[in-house]
């Protein structure tokens, strides 16, 4: 954010580096040749790799043993398929593992899978599984386990959010029952033959429509692979912790703590694991106890410091804060079927009032990059940069008058109380739209209340987590009838282009389609998406190998304590 114009190739280069097309050395060399300062290039490289700006002075030899104590909410964690928070995912991941893992550098890497390949049309995905992996009960890990898990995710009775991630493997069937209005009740079930076992260590997924994000979806926190007899053996990981992971559960009390200990029964496939024990301590929802616990050395790490706590953490000499640039954001979204938001001119008037850069400064301490109202991040492969938007109150007033509100209008936005950056963003927006003739009231409510109505409220502020591909987000949030389409947006042209983008593998070709998609969303002004935020994690300096992951996942197999 220096304001100096950078070389036009640099965004492309950053992109290629983020996607792993060019390596770090090549990136740094080319970027500096094109005029980016070495400091900035290193900083960018550090951000992409999820490192802190200050590089670790030396790589010491890992020390075996130790108990890593982490401040994190201990939530109900019985069934990985129904996890709806990152926290149970972090606990579960050390016992049961995913096929794919997204590491420090945001690149999906095979974990329980050994490799994968996609057909040219992106509709057939073949996963080869790692051989020699043992379950903690002595069984061999294999294709049966993966087939069991995928079928279970797609079964509507499981209630897994994975059904939405792999929606292209399902179809709608008539249940034979009628609802109150006499319409047939439909059920979403796995398509015939969607999951295929090729041999003991190969599975194949057959999709109805092309989907580029299958590996990333398999890396999400509810996609931990449980044992093939998980359901018949009680279906509760916290009571019967059978897994392929390096740790097993010793103690578990929701809202209090969870203790994982290193497994000794069966050798772990992933090589040396340094920690003997991981203790998760629940400090509730208030940040104060977590900071106090870090300061008085009651814990070694804290999962989710919020942006307001960074200045306090900076004053603690033993604590290191790790940050990562992620496609995490929040959108002030308008429901297009609700008055007055059905009026495009009104939505555009709101948009014209907003200076995204300023919102980022006020609401998130400028720790991130400004957004452009189309929910595609510069981090997403095939991101296309659109011309910059301008704050223009004159235009806003003109649009508002054309929309039928020459004297201004009063609007109300629903918003959760915590995390606080969400209501801070709404407050910044409220101040910003005032000169344009929009009086924006903020209706702050507990998270539970907001999540009951987030799909239907006329105007609400919703946070969206990181997703590796723009098409994943756009399919969920903006496709006609999309699973999490919270704006009621329905645009056949948009849907058509989205299909095209999902079926295009070449990044440059896809970029052309993305540019059209972004322009359509921006022009329809259904969301005010003001910034992409950096996310943080904090740990004591004696902890090595810890980093901030884009979805705040914990990968502690290689972490060690000095």
């Amino acid at each position: 954010m220096t304001g100096r114009k950078e070389h036009s190739y640099i965004p492309t280069l950053k992109q290629d580096f983020a996607e792993g097309k060019v390596d770090r050395r090549e990136f740094l060399r080319t970027a500096t040749l094109l005029g980016m300062s070495a400091g900035a290039a290193y900083a960018f490289a550090g951000r992409v790799a999820g490192e802190t700006f200050v590089a670790k002075a030396h790589a010491a030899t890992p020390k075996m043993g130790g108990n890593l104590r982490v401040s994190m909410n201990v939530k109900e964690s019985a069934d990985p398929a129904t996890y709806s928070w990152s926290e149970p995912g972090n606990l579960g991941r050390h016992m049961t593992e995913p096929l794919v893992q997204i590491d420090k550098d945001r690149i999906p890497r095979p974990h329980l899978a050994e490799s994968w390949e996609a057909s040219d049309d992106l509709k057939t995905w073949t996963f080869r599984l790692r051989k020699g992996v043992k379950w903690s009960n002595g069984d061999d890990f294999g294709a049966d386990d993966v087939v069991f898990n995928m079928r279970r995710w797609l079964d509507p009775a499981t209630g897994s959010s994975n059904q939405a991630r792999f929606i292209s493997m399902t179809e709608q069937v008539d249940t034979g029952k009628k609802d109150k209005d006499g319409n047939p009740k439909m059920s979403t079930v796995a398509s015939e033959g969607a999951v295929e076992k090729i041999d003991d260590h190969t599975v194949r997924f057959h999709l109805n429509v092309p989907n580029i994000s299958v590996p990333e979806s398999l890396a999400d926190y509810p996609a931990l692979i449980v044992h093939r007899r998980f359901s018949e053996e009680g279906g509760d990981l916290t009571k019967n912790p059978v897994g392929t992971g390096a740790f097993t559960l010793k103690e578990f009390a929701v809202g209090e703590k969870a203790v994982l200990v290193k497994r000794t029964d069966v050798p772990y496939w992933g090589g040396d694991v340094y920690l003997d024990r991981i203790t998760y301590v629940d400090h509730g929802d208030d940040p104060a106890p977590a900071i106090a616990a870090l300061a008085s050395d009651q814990v070694d790490a804290w999962m989710r410091p919020s942006v307001e706590q960074l200045s306090t953490l900076a004053k603690l000499p033993n604590i290191e804060v790790y940050e990562v640039e992620a496609a995490q954001t929040g959108v002030a979204r308008m429901h297009v079927n609700e008055k007055p938001f059905d009026n495009k001119k009104l939505r555009q008037a709101f948009q014209a009032c907003v200076d995204a850069k300023r919102v980022l400064e006020v609401a998130y301490q400028n720790r991130g990059t400004p957004g452009a109202d189309h929910h595609v991040s510069p981090l997403h492969p095939a991101y296309a940069e659109l011309p910059a938007q301008k704050q223009d109150y004159g235009l806003a007033k003109k649009l508002l008058a054309e929309a039928g509100y020459p004297d201004g209008i009063r609007l109300t936005i629903d918003c959760v109380a915590t995390p606080t950056w969400e209501q801070n963003t709404c407050k910044a927006l409220s101040e910003m739209v005032k000169p344009g003739g929009i009086d924006l009231a903020i209706n702050i409510m507990p998270g539970g209340t907001y999540w009951d109505r987030w799909m239907s409220t006329p105007f609400g502020f919703t946070s969206w987590t990181h997703r590796a591909h723009a098409t994943q987000v756009l399919n969920l949030g903006y496709r006609t009838g999309g699973r999490w389409n919270e704006t009621g947006y329905a645009n056949p042209e948009f849907d058509k282009l989205l299909n095209e983008a999902g079926a295009t593998l070449d990044a440059d070709e896809r970029r052309k389609v993305m540019a059209k998609l972004e322009a359509i969303l921006q022009d329809d002004a259904i969301i005010s998406q003001d910034f992409w935020r950096l996310v943080y994690t904090a740990a004591n300096k004696r902890v090595h190998g810890i980093y901030a992951q884009v979805a705040l996942e914990h990968h502690y197999n290689k972490v060690w304590i000095e």
Binding site: A78, G159, S161, V254, K257, V281, D286
Partner: protein
């Protein structure tokens, strides 16, 4: 006496039934919310409906209420939605933790506030009285969330003497109890001390005290034998009410220090609309409220023989 206690008990049960019914109606109006809480905001309508059916949410309301009430009477409080274990498994340990916190607070607060109150009330208007009164008002007017931050800043971040949280994850620790108790005592002692002072000052102006002093009894004896018993009636009632206050008043302190007690549990249960847990917590709170009231009434007659049961 027996009739009095029986009437108290009947009143207690009636209050609890009314509270339980109100809570049940409030919380169960929309079972859809429960499924959203459990399966998360991203679940589909179909998934939620299947979950609700599997967990008996489509039974008529009165059937669910009475089956719950029957279970409650036999000690089965149902299963917590948030904790996924029987309510009694989380409720009793949490209540015990708050009892420990409460006892420690009372063990310091009661002697401290009584002594200060009596000292101040003995000689109204003296320098000692002024000093104690000002301190009491000052400490009581600082809210707990402020004094918790303030004391943490001193003892945890600056002096590094005390642990910052009191989760007791490694077992019971006196050291972890110090800060929460300090905050509660600081907030509460001033109030009880001032009530004691007022009561004491009033007793000191009565005729029989004047008589005792005038007939030449030693001052110490006048205070201990004649003034104290009557002066303690008001503080006794106040202290009984403090038990009530403590049960909900600890929420802020428990939340701030991540102490795993009843207050934190109540807060968590309400934020997550954990129906059976809220009901059980509310029942405990109502029970404590009515029970302390009954004890206060009985204790009152002991302290003041002029009051007799009708």
């Amino acid at each position: 006496m027996v009739v009095f206690i029986l009437r108290r008990l009947g009143f207690m049960v009636l209050t609890m039934v009314v509270v339980s019914l109100l809570l049940f109606l409030l919380l169960e109006i929309s079972p859809g919310n429960v499924a959203t809480k459990v399966l998360g905001p991203y679940s589909s309508e179909e998934q939620r409906t299947l979950w609700l059916a599997a967990h008996g949410y489509f039974e008529p309301l009165h059937v669910r209420y009475f089956s719950w009430l029957g279970n409650f009477a036999t000690g089965d409080f149902g299963e917590s939605i948030r904790f996924k274990v029987p309510v009694s498994e989380v409720l009793w340990p949490r209540l015990a933790n708050t009892a420990i916190l409460g006892l420690a607070t009372f063990a310091i607060m009661i002697p401290l506030s009584l002594v200060l109150g009596i000292l101040a009330g003995m000689r109204e208007g003296s320098k000692l009285d002024r000093a104690i009164s000002v301190t009491s008002i000052a400490t009581t007017s600082v809210p707990e969330f402020a004094s918790a931050v303030f004391l943490s800043a001193i003892f945890v971040f600056w002096l590094k003497l005390l642990p910052g949280t009191s989760g007791m994850t490694e077992g019971f620790s006196i050291k972890q109890l110090i800060l929460p108790v300090m905050v509660l005592v600081l907030y509460d002692f001033g109030y009880v001390a001032r009530m004691t002072r007022a009561s004491m000052a009033e007793v000191m102006t009565t005729a029989y005290i004047r008589t005792a002093v005038l007939k030449g009894l030693p001052y110490k004896q006048v205070i201990l034998k004649h003034a104290l018993r009557n002066a303690l009636i008001t503080p006794f009632t106040v202290i009984m009410l403090q038990i009530n206050w403590l049960l909900s008043g600890v929420i802020v302190v428990e939340f701030f220090f991540a102490y795993k007690g009843f207050g934190a549990l109540l807060l968590e249960a309400s934020l997550n609309q954990d129906i059976f847990l809220i009901e059980a917590c509310a029942m405990v709170a109502v029970f404590v409220a009515v029970a302390t009231q009954a004890i206060a009434d009985i204790g009152y007659t002991y302290l003041n023989p002029r009051i007799r049961f009708a």
